[in-house]
């Protein structure tokens, strides 16, 4: 089963790039990436720029409306994601706990919908 692991956290909760803790923090991500690759579950993953760079788009009455900012203004922001292919939720939980930001923020695990059930 595929799971999307959404990494949420307050922007100031993770170490700043010039802080002494930053190196260990990044090493945690390198280690997580390596584990996901080695165990054959990695299907993708990226870090995101902050919500101050976000643009929200919607189409109403055929007209495209563009807004500066994220869909929802919250203290904890979506900062990155992984797409993993695991056997079950227990494995996904185990991998989520390896993500460094899980220690200060929250990782939300969302199963990817199985659309094969809708195919003729």
């Amino acid at each position: 089963m595929k799971y999307l692991l959404l990494i949420y956290g307050a922007p100031d909760a993770s170490p700043a790039p010039d802080s002494p803790e930053f190196e260990a923090y990044m090493a945690g991500y390198v280690k997580a990436d390596q584990t996901f690759e080695k165990e054959g579950v990695m299907r993708g993953g990226e870090a995101l720029e902050g919500t101050d760079t976000a643009t929200s788009v919607r189409v109403r009455g055929g007209k495209t409306e563009t807004m500066d900012g994220p869909f929802a203004e919250t203290k904890e922001q979506l900062g990155g994601f992984y797409l993993l292919d695991c056997d079950n939720l227990d494995d996904a939980i185990r991998y989520a706990a390896m993500i460094p930001d899980a220690a200060t923020g929250t990782v939300e695990i969302r199963p990817v919908m199985d659309v094969s059930q809708f195919e003729g």
Binding site: N88, L89, I109, Q117
Partner: protein, 415 residues
């Protein structure tokens, strides 16, 4: 000639099978079908056809074996009809093979997969109330209506909660497996919590009757099953001992006037001394394993109370020590409150009142805090303050038996 006016014995017989072995059948079906919801639906189908068939042909030699075989056939039908063969191909082939090779088997030959089922129902990805409900529904074989009644919610609400739970198990991929060694302690603790929640709901119910013996007995029964499946788990033994000891005092816990009777005033001759002996022996077995934990310590305290000939002859110094050990395991203001109640017997009431003071911040409106405070003040002769504390305790009481007891006590000191 059969007398058609006689009530059919089939329904009670079927009910018996479901209560005793429903969880076992369901667990095995989930394992064989690889689908929680499908397993439940097919077992339900099999139960429906049992009523008809057993009435006509009598109850089969192995009712469980019969139900399992029929449920499997229903699963084959359902899979065929739903054209789900593409993603269920492996399970379907497996089912056909079982159908061909396994005739009806006797129930004792059925493999026991209930441990997986317990861990699935108590999975931390489900919320706590859902874990309790799902455990009672699938392992306890209680109906949705019975569970709704026990937890004082509408049957439709409970039904919805169960539907959501099954959907989440399927869609989120909650596995049907026993956790591995690394996860084991935490996951077992989660299961024990669920069983203790069931027990507590029966022990001092917020529903219409104060003691719901059926829920207490269900929790004890499930703990026994669990202990057979994973023996020598000291905390599980501790929990089973604790529940057994508490439940043994049931006949004396409520007076004829419907008021709760405190431990000190209970008629100890009315206690179930056989159960007390069994509970005390079990906690001793657990403690000898050298891995003490909160349930074992609470059971040891329960055993000291239950084996004392009277309240005055209770080994209070030992109880004080055990509450101190308990607080070292887990910082919990409720343990601290019970410690205060115990030191009133060893160091005196005024010392206990001093120690109670700092707990008020963390426990706030917790009814037992005000009930204890009222009792200590009453024993010290400070009646005016005691009445105030009784008033606060009464306002927070969540069942009639506690309320009546507190009102009686308040009446005895106010004039």
């Amino acid at each position: 000639m059969t007398d058609v006016s006689q009530p059919s014995p089939v329904r009670p017989a079927l009910h018996e099978v479901v209560r005793a072995d429903g969880g076992r059948l369901l667990a095995l079906l989930i394992r064989q079908l690889g689908d929680f919801q499908l397993a439940e639906d097919c077992l339900q189908d099999a139960l429906t056809s049992a009523i008809e068939h057993w009435q006509r042909n009598g109850v089969p030699n192995s009712p469980e074996g019969w139900l399992l075989q029929v449920a499997r056939r229903k699963a084959i039908d359902r899979l065929r009809r739903a054209a789900r063969l593409r993603d269920k191909g492996a399970e379907y082939a497996h089912l056909l093979e079982l159908e061909a090779t396994q005739p009806e088997v006797a129930s004792e030959q059925l493999p026991d997969e209930r441990l997986r089922l317990i861990f699935t129902c108590c999975h931390p990805a489900l919320d706590e109330r859902t874990r309790v409900a799902l455990t009672l529904r699938t392992l306890g074989g209680l109906t949705t209506e019975e569970i709704a009644r026990a937890f004082v919610v509408k049957p439709s609400t409970m039904a919805q909660r169960l539907v959501r739970a099954r959907r989440k198990i399927a869609k989120a991929g909650i596995p049907f497996r026993v956790p591995d060694a690394e996860e084991w302690p935490e996951r077992l603790h989660g299961v024990l919590t669920v069983l203790y929640l069931v027990f507590n709901e029966g022990y001092a119910s917020s529903g219409a009757s104060y003691i719901r013996a059926d829920l207490c007995e269900e929790a004890i029964r499930l703990a026994r099953i669990l202990l057979r499946l994973c023996p020598e788990e000291p905390e599980l033994e501790g929990l089973l001992a604790l529940m057994t000891l508490h439940h043994a005092r049931r006949p004396a816990r409520m007076g004829p006037d419907g008021a709760m009777v405190p431990l000190e005033e209970q008629d100890r001759a009315a206690w179930d001394h056989e159960a007390i002996a069994a509970g005390a022996a079990l906690v001793e077995t657990a403690l000898r394993r050298g891995r003490p934990g909160p349930y074992q310590i609470q059971a040891a305290i329960g055993a000291l109370h239950a084996e004392a000939p009277s309240a005055a002859e209770t080994d209070w110094p030992q109880i004080v020590l055990l509450y101190e050990a308990l607080q070292e395991h887990r910082d919990n203001p409720v343990y601290a409150l019970n410690w205060v109640a115990a030191i009133a017997h060893t160091r005196g009431v005024s010392e206990a009142l001093n120690r109670l003071e700092p707990l008020q911040r963390s426990l706030g409106d917790y009814q037992p805090l005000h009930a204890l405070k009222a009792d200590l003040l009453r024993r010290q002769g400070q009646y005016a303050e005691a009445v105030q504390a009784y008033d606060r305790a009464i306002a927070q009481a969540n069942n009639d038996a506690d309320r009546r007891f507190l009102e009686k006590r308040r009446a005895s000191i106010s004039r």
